[in-house]
Symmetry: C2
Subunit: 243 residues, 2 copies
């Protein structure tokens, strides 16, 4: 479970409590508001999940080892580029990912505004809790409880007993390395105007996650781009293009 | 949704919020702690469910019109006499009850101790959220959210389109009237020693709910017992038994 910039210490505590209720151990908190984070961790009866939580500065660091990153949030005011899956239908997706040896992260945004577009570009899928149109937005602690009830409970109770046969999926850190290399290549090739850089980076993150690359695919593509980049740079040194 | 003796105003607010999220309108609060109840109702942004909530002194008054009463809670330290149904398996039960024109109440106990044995004797079924053995007990607001996600969302989304064909089920008020009359009859017949009265009343509540009586059954049995009682009393007046 990853909480991005949580504010309310009670919500942080409630999220950790729900993790304990449904048997999840690993909580990561991204850039929390420091005083509230300290308050949540030091609360009387804080579950182990809170004391053992990892703190990271960015979402990409938090999900580096994850092979399937699920974003959450209300979709009333946004149209994500990822596939949106109603929560009940995410159960088999999570189960299959765990069965093939993957690691799943489920990411919750800040209380007021939810995940940003940049946060979402690091997610493979967007999960939607089916709520009433008049009050679609859920309280953070309650949203965590509902998601974990469905995903942790059901995905594990019906876990496939087969050994992982499918090749192991690429983790988020490899995808980020690949994105960085592709971006550098685009720049070196003079493809990406400076003004377009942020937009291209965002689209590239989304695209790489849609491809469902394996770890091996990713290594191969990294190799190709390293080679291309090396050539481009050598050409550039010999024969600088007018920019 | 019925909350029995809730204490924490934040939990009361969270329960009402979850009802709004999943499209439920009717909240009843039984014997709340007055200052906290006032605080919860007057909170900024309190959902309509809270402002329109009904307050009753007893659980039996709260569920008087309900034909299916579902208790909730942790079963680590108790062994209820009712049938216990894991939450996911309660979905078809609720759906069928709504399809035959019944009214369903879901009852949550106080934060610390949960529903009492007497509370449970007014429930037809006990619902259990499958949680981890090391931390089985859920926060009240989160438990409400999880139950409503499962029951309100799913039970309605797959609601049977057929008109109600089965006879209408007995509501809780009729069952209570029947229980009262049976008890009076037992006493008049000299069956129930004073010391056993509370235990007998409890068992009778549980038994009547297990029978799944229709409203018509209940009327008929009430008629029979009224007649019996009338005869017993007439006999008693003529011919007092040594007590």
């Amino acid at each position: 479970v990853v909480l991005v910039r949580p504010r309310n210490p009670l919500n942080i505590g409630a999220a950790a409590r729900a993790m304990a209720n449904f048997g999840l151990a690993r909580l990561t908190v991204v850039a929390p508001y420091a005083p509230h984070w300290r308050e949540a961790r030091s609360a009387v009866g804080a579950p182990r999940q809170l004391r053992d939580a990892t703190e990271t500065a960015s979402l990409s660091a938090a999900v580096a080892a994850s092979t399937l990153v699920l974003g959450t949030g209300t979709l009333t005011h946004r149209k994500p580029e990822q596939r949106v899956v109603p929560l009940p239908l995410a159960v088999p997706i999570v189960r299959d990912e765990l069965a093939r040896g993957g690691r799943v992260a489920i990411v919750f945004g800040p209380e007021k505004h939810g995940l940003t577009r940049d946060n979402l570009s690091l997610c493979h899928l967007m999960i939607e809790i089916p709520t009433h149109p008049l009050q679609p937005s859920m309280n953070l602690g309650q949203a965590v409880a509902v998601c974990l009830y469905e995903l942790a409970g059901r995905a594990s109770e019906t876990a496939a007993p087969d050994p992982p046969l499918a090749p192991s999926p690429a983790d988020s850190a490899s995808l980020d390395r690949l994105a960085g290399l592709v971006e550098e290549t685009m720049e070196t090739a003079g493809y990406s105007p400076r003004a377009m850089r942020a937009a291209n980076r965002h689209d590239l993150h989304v695209l790489l996650r849609r491809l469902a690359l394996t770890q091996r695919d990713t290594r191969r593509i990294l190799g190709i781009f390293r080679r291309i980049l090396w050539r481009l740079k050598r050409e550039g040194d010999r024969n600088p293009s007018p920019r």
